[in-house]
């Protein structure tokens, strides 16, 4: 697949997708520079769930998976 940086539209899709299905929340509190962001960790979690290469970044294959038609129930169980 062509290697191209994710578009703004892809970024927005990813944000919505990760919030809806992988419980991405707003990042509050101190950000530890060396630690991957919550967002990157959620991308990795999603890639692992779908058996994709775990890169933590929005590569083309990950965006392609996010665009597939699917069920609206979250993939991780939300804390009640």
């Amino acid at each position: 697949l062509p290697i191209s940086p994710p578009s703004e539209e892809d970024e927005a899709l990813a944000e919505t997708y990760l919030k809806r299905f992988f419980n991405l929340t707003e990042e509050t509190g101190p950000v530890f520079k060396r630690r991957p962001s919550q967002r990157s960790r959620k991308v990795s979690e999603m890639q692992s769930f779908f058996g994709l290469k775990v890169t933590g970044t929005l590569d083309a294959e990950t965006v392609m998976m996010m665009k597939k038609p699917r069920c609206g129930v979250p993939d991780v169980q939300l804390s009640r």
């Binding site: 779908f50 699917r70 069920c71 609206g72 169980q77």
Partner: protein, 374 residues
């Protein structure tokens, strides 16, 4: 499989009610799709479903768009197709379908309501999503022929984990229930792949409905459904090869051949096997591979193999030859074949035989997961 923690129906007798209908299908088609989608689960568990036409059922089924009365609005066409709630009072167990989608009864047009509903009812009964790409409870929609649908093993394990097996005797003892299809396991030493090919540096291993795709960096191959990539392609293909000359991958099933250019199916395919020049007596190819040096494609059929001149687009004279004549020591049937870094690999059953094309010597006998790390 995964389950919603502590969410199951306390009785095996569950009621459902269809509150409204989609304009995409007739009332009878919706009723039938919903009924069959519930029977998928009843067949392998003690659960029994009764339809009611008024009042509150355990599973309330409705079609709606965008904001439709719960705090999970739908998103218009595609994207989210439906959702359902874990067993419980009130909205618990209810299933909602996004009526901005185009639902269908039996064709590959739109989204098959039976398949979408069967998935959602898995949630209604207590199952959450599975990361097994072959499971019905895998979150991404994938078309499967409803007429031959059989609940996969992962889903059977899930529902029986919650409710136990179906304790009723099979009403048709002379027609045993089909064995639930399981997802192939790369760690299975007895795995026999259907076909292997390269595709612009990637390696693809086909098995049943599935394919593993490995990238050149040798990362763990990704397992997915063939139909996730190519809905038009059949399952259980026989052979595959990549022609470096035409930059196409050819896939074979019975007497038909498909061509891919990159990840797109080339228009005008499938074609008949004989369009390649194979004799009419050849109805099926067991394996195929492209030899980079000679620019010939070898087709393996039973104990023989043919040589096809890709440049001249015709079969070479003097074939078929016996496989063990061209590849000494290869006495068992070739089930898949390809070339990697100039070495030829002939699969037979769960073994892989490495050959030098120049000397035709058998160099090593390897396990089937040599390129498919467990």
């Amino acid at each position: 499989f995964t389950t919603f923690d502590n969410h199951k129906w306390q009785t095996n007798r569950v009621t459902y009610r269809i509150e409204n209908y989609t304009p995409d299908m007739s009332v009878a088609e919706v009723d039938n799709s919903i009924e069959r989608a519930l029977q998928v689960w009843a067949k392998v568990s003690p659960l029994r479903f009764t339809r009611i036409y008024s009042g509150i059922a355990d599973i309330m089924i409705s079609f709606g768009t965008r904001n439709h009365g719960d705090s999970y609005p739908f998103d218009g066409p595609d994207g989210t197709l439906a959702h359902a709630f874990a067993p419980g009072a009130g909205i618990g167990g209810d299933a909602h379908f996004d009526d901005d989608e185009s639902f269908s009864f039996s064709s590959t047009r739109g989204y098959n309501l039976f398949l979408v509903a069967a998935h959602e009812f898995g949630h209604s009964l207590g199952l959450s999503h599975s990361n097994d790409p072959g499971a019905l409870m895998f979150p991404v929609y994938s078309y499967t022929d409803p007429r031959t649908f059989s609940l996969p093993r992962d889903d059977v394990n899930g529902i029986q984990y919650i409710y136990g097996p179906n304790t009723d005797l099979n009403p048709n003892p002379d027609k045993p229930d089909p064995t639930p299809p399981s997802t192939p396991d790369a760690c299975d030493p007895t795995l026999v792949v259907d076909a292997v090919t390269t595709l612009r540096g990637d390696k693809m291993f086909f098995k049943g409905r599935f394919l593993w795709r490995g990238d050149p960096q040798g990362n763990k191959p990704v397992l997915s459904l063939i139909k996730n990539y190519w809905p038009e392609l059949p399952d259980n293909i026989n052979a595959a090869y990549e022609s470096q000359l035409s930059d196409r991958v050819f896939l074979f099933k019975d007497s038909q051949v498909w061509a891919l250019y990159g990840y797109d199916i080339v228009p005008g395919y499938p074609k008949n096997l004989n369009s390649l020049g194979l004799p009419r007596t050849v109805k099926k190819v067991d394996a195929a591979m492209y030899d980079e040096d000679s620019r010939k494609t070898l087709f393996f059929v039973d104990d023989n193999y043919y040589s096809y001149d890709e440049a001249m687009k015709r079969m070479d004279k003097g074939f078929p030859k016996r496989v063990d004549e061209g590849f000494p020591g290869m006495t068992s049937k070739v089930t898949a074949a390809f070339q990697v870094r100039g070495f030829t690999y002939l699969y037979s059953g769960s073994y892989m035989f490495e050959y030098s094309m120049r000397t035709r010597r058998q160099l090593r006998v390897l396990g089937n997961n040599y390129f498919l790390p467990c």
